[in-house]
């Protein structure tokens, strides 16, 4: 092995060159945490937290998703740019869904008004029935 290659391998610590195997303990720990959080979210769904239900469920999902991304997908040790690309996509998803919801609810009252003025509309549809 030549000098340059040796220096490069030393720079990345150990005999595996550029590979960074994740310690098995971490993988087992993350898997156990994910299973516990799954049980927690199922149990939590049996209780009524009112409007907070969805946020509790999404909070647990976010923690689980972060564990998967950081440890199973190696982002914790990875080049920061890969994580940046990932987070950037979530940012654009938030803009997308957020703005569509804003837009939808801006027009909701006029749709409701139209439905009130046309009580027979939509009754032929498969789920047709009383407007609620």
């Amino acid at each position: 092995m030549s000098g340059q290659a040796k220096v490069q391998e030393q720079g990345h610590g150990g005999d595996h060159g550029f590979a960074h195997p994740v310690p098995l303990k971490i993988l087992v720990g993350v898997a156990a945490a994910l299973i516990l959080l799954t049980i927690l979210t199922v149990v939590a769904s049996d209780f009524d937290f009112g409007a907070f239900d969805i946020w509790i469920a999404m909070g647990i999902a976010l923690v689980k998703g972060s564990l998967v991304a950081l440890f199973f997908m190696h982002l914790f040790w990875d080049k920061r740019f890969n994580g940046f690309v990932f987070i950037a996509s979530l940012f654009f998803v938030a803009i997308f869904i957020g703005f569509v919801l804003l837009d939808t609810h801006t027009y909701e009252s006029s749709v409701k008004q139209w439905v009130q003025d046309h009580p027979q509309s939509g009754h032929a549809l498969p789920g047709g029935g009383e407007h609620k």
Partner: protein
């Protein structure tokens, strides 16, 4: 020509696995990092692709919460939870397989890839069982939504009353089948990719200097798991 390149790039090219390094890369590490960044960019397009359906979900649920509250009772929370755990276990064996490939552990790599494949098949089996339940109950998408009389009453430990059914209940099932269908399709594609890895692993093609395919298929597989982690509470655990 290849000798000339060897001379230019000199020292780093004297490794038994160097046949896997394309000539336009400096070394195996640069090639790996490039492939991984490319995979992340692809995963971003996948996230944006799914976000269209998540957006549909958000719009309909915010406009018609009563439909979601009522219709989700037809989904089997128990099967959904089991499937979530099956996918988590498959993600674990996949992450372990990446470690095996990096350490050149051929036998362990093949075992973990096989376990991942079995978990994926279990997931699809349970999904198929759920789909056939929906078909038998007549609780399918759009205009095909015609719940049979036996779809009402005692279902999955709760009671579903026909007279309580809100208008446009079929929308829930359109969204359910679109989201779980697209996700299930990704699981099938993942199974094909893992099978491909298994064949290459059997040929002894992966080791510390070349494990890129295992790593990036792993990334894809974890993303499929990640999406299910959000789908499960959104569809099965509505309160």
């Amino acid at each position: 020509m290849s000798q000339a390149i060897d001379t230019i790039h000199g020292a780093v090219d004297h490794h038994p696995h160097d046949s896997q390094v394309a000539h336009h890369f400096e070394n195996a590490e640069q090639q790996f990092e490039s492939a991984k960044l490319g995979m992340w960019v692809f995963l971003v397009t996948e996230i944006l692709f799914f976000s269209g359906l998540f957006c549909v979900y958000a719009v309909y649920r915010s406009l018609h919460p009563e439909v979601f509250l009522y219709a989700h009772q037809w989904l089997d929370k128990g099967l959904g939870a089991i499937n979530t755990i099956v996918l988590i276990v498959s993600s674990f064996t996949m992450a372990w397989a990446v470690r095996n490939a990096q350490l050149g552990q051929k036998k362990a790599l093949m075992i973990n890839l096989t376990l991942t494949l079995l978990c994926a098949a279990t997931f699809m089996g349970i999904k198929a069982e759920e789909y056939s339940q929906k078909y038998e109950h007549g609780t399918t998408w759009g205009a095909s939504f015609q719940p049979h009389p036996d779809a009402f009453g005692e279902v999955h430990g709760g009671e579903i009353k026909k007279e309580d059914m809100p208008r446009n209940t079929q929308i829930f099932f359109s969204i359910y089948f679109a989201l779980t269908g697209l996700h299930g399709f990704h699981v099938l594609v993942g199974m094909g990719l893992i099978l491909w890895l298994l064949i290459r692993a059997a040929k002894g093609q992966f080791g510390p200097q070349y494990f890129t395919p295992v790593d990036i298929v792993g990334l894809y597989w974890h993303l499929v798991d990640l999406i299910w982690i959000f789908l499960f509470p959104l569809l099965y655990l509505i309160h």
